[in-house]
């Protein structure tokens, strides 16, 4: 079978160029993170990671992520069910709307929350009178994190559920199954891997969000500093090794995300074969 670009020279040239450019632009930064983090040995790396403020930042980041994931799950599943199982006016509009967080600059995302819930905003002003402060505290960080991560689960589920169609669920209805049973016994087994990958993506973004969080957090060391904000402070203080120790932890989560995706794709390919 004759195909375009099959001549050995063309083939080798293109593969060579792709590998070389990827190594330079993608792999080299990844290597540099760990090289910088361990530049002064494992002991210094460990001292940086187990530093009081770093641990506090890790704690806050995990806390925010653990709260974000269930919210995104409920929204993602509800939206995917709605737009793939029913047709109604405004369905396309809804699908466009959920892409908003992908198009909005993270700084703008942080700003609109700050304006609404900050002391001068119309909701924030009222909350302030009740002595409730959302901005420059963890609830603000949580709110913007939910904003930037909410499309991921829905975006993973919608194409899959659209492709699978609703015949199995309709069959379950005719057999008299309740809504809860249909979801648990028919839908969930079909979408669980996409759901898992959606959660992994949500996790990666929730842990790493920087722009939106830096607007609403106030970045108080030990209190409202997430891990990305903490590494920024260390970097600005010329504590490069400390900054890269935190960066290495975040890079490990990124690597886990890539491995999970490769694993899930491998699994899907094996099932098709």
């Amino acid at each position: 079978m004759q195909r375009i670009g099959d001549a050995p020279a063309v083939r080798r040239g293109l593969i060579g160029a792709a590998v070389a450019l990827s190594a330079l632009f993608l792999l080299l930064p990844l290597v540099a993170i760990f090289a910088q983090a361990f530049a002064q040995g494992v002991g210094v790396f460990w001292a940086n990671v187990s530093d009081h403020y770093t641990l506090a930042a890790i704690g806050l980041t995990l806390f925010i992520t653990v709260l974000t994931i269930p919210v995104c799950l409920v929204f993602g599943v509800a939206l995917a069910w709605l737009v793939t199982r029913f047709s109604f006016p405004g369905r396309r509009l809804l699908q466009t709307l959920i892409d908003i967080p992908f198009a909005v600059s993270p700084v703008v995302a942080g700003l609109i929350y700050l304006l609404l819930y900050g002391r001068n905003g119309w909701i924030g002003g009222w909350l302030d009178a009740q002595d409730i402060q959302l901005m420059f505290a963890w609830p603000g960080i949580l709110m913007v994190t939910i904003f930037v991560t909410c499309p991921f689960v829905a975006r993973e589920l919608i194409p899959l559920m659209q492709a699978q169609g609703s015949r199995e669920e309709e069959a379950a209805v005719t057999l008299g199954a309740s809504g809860g049973t249909i979801f648990r016994r028919v839908t969930l087994p079909n979408i669980r891997w996409a759901l898992l990958y959606g959660v992994i993506l949500t996790n990666a973004r929730a842990v790493g969000e920087f722009g939106a969080v830096s607007v609403v957090s106030g970045a108080i060391r030990g209190q409202t500093n997430t891990l990305p904000l903490h590494l920024e402070q260390l970097y600005q203080d010329y504590n490069t090794v400390g900054a890269f120790a935190s960066a290495a932890l975040l890079a490990l989560i990124a690597l886990f995300t890539l491995a999970a995706k490769a694993g899930l794709e491998w699994r899907a390919a094996r099932r098709e074969a």
């Binding site: 703008v108 001068n120 920087f210």
Partner: protein, 284 residues
């Protein structure tokens, strides 16, 4: 409401959960996505059109638009070429390490932007691995406009690769054969036969990469140098105004950024819808 809706769509709903999923989705979309945006309108309704114009057309702010759009355009163009090359190599060839290369493509999405930012800044600074090689050649990347474009290209490359890849995978072998049996060279066949199939996806991916670059913040601020009028991006301008407690100024600039990115998102969605319709014979 539940009585009227089935008539609107002309079809009875068989599956349960319409009301519940509609309720959750609408509540979420209005509270989380739309309500916060109204705060921009509220903030800006206090100033006159002339004041608004004065803020968004201020020299330093206009310079930041030029820097941001210029660098994002360069990054998008570079990514169009680089992304096309990578998608082609990943779909058409088998070679050792291919799986690893494929996984590596998602790194910019998985890696927190601040991590990418400090890493690129360290690599391309005068003392970094890349900086040491490039600066003797007179090429300064860190703290220049080129560095901004580099950071933008890094964070947005997966958009092009992942949009073009599936379209290339679906292209039947016969397309290649037909072109080659008619005697076309590889280059001509690619340009005349393959590219027409790919360019809708290529434009979509490049457009998404461009939108992402316009709003990017974390990856850029470390490598940009952030010199007013020279290497200051618009997202940073908003941040600077906020730190000066100039909420109106921040809102005015943010409204420009928001309108441009939403307009581009809408344009990309319409473009993609049009193109999908053409492929699937009218079924979106």
């Amino acid at each position: 409401m539940s009585l009227a809706l089935p008539r609107l769509t002309g079809r009875r709903r068989v599956l349960p959960g319409f009301g519940l999923s509609l309720g959750i989705s609408l509540m979420f979309v209005s509270l989380v996505l739309l309500l916060p945006m109204t705060s921009l309108v509220g903030q800006l309704s206090g100033i006159s059109l002339a004041e608004y114009w004065a803020i968004i057309s201020d020299g330093r702010v206009v310079a930041s638009y030029t820097v941001t759009i210029g660098a994002a355009a360069l990054a998008a163009l570079v990514n169009a070429a680089f992304g096309l090359l990578l998608a082609w190599v990943l779909v058409r060839y088998e070679f050792p390490g291919k799986r690893l290369l494929d996984a590596l493509m998602d790194l910019p999405f998985a890696l927190p932007t601040a991590v990418a930012g400090i890493t690129l800044a360290t690599l391309y600074a005068g003392s970094g691995w890349m900086g040491r090689l490039l600066e003797p050649l007179g090429l300064q990347v860190a703290y220049t406009w080129v560095g901004i474009a580099l950071a933008m290209a890094f964070t947005s490359i997966p958009f092009v690769v992942r949009t073009v890849q599936p379209v290339l995978e679906d292209l039947p072998q016969e397309v290649d054969e037909a072109a080659l049996t008619l005697g076309a060279s590889d280059a001509t066949a690619f340009r005349r036969v393959i590219l027409p199939h790919l360019w809708p996806a290529l434009v979509t991916g490049t457009g998404l990469a461009f939108v992402r670059s316009l709003g990017e913040f974390g990856a850029i601020i470390f490598i940009a140098g952030n010199m007013p009028y020279e290497t200051e991006i618009t997202a940073l301008m908003i941040f600077v105004k906020l730190q000066e407690y100039d909420y109106v100024g921040a809102s005015a600039i943010a409204s420009v950024v928001l309108m441009v990115s939403l307009a581009l998102l809408l344009a990309i969605n319409i473009w993609q819808g049009h193109f999908i319709k053409r492929l699937h014979g009218g079924r979106g």
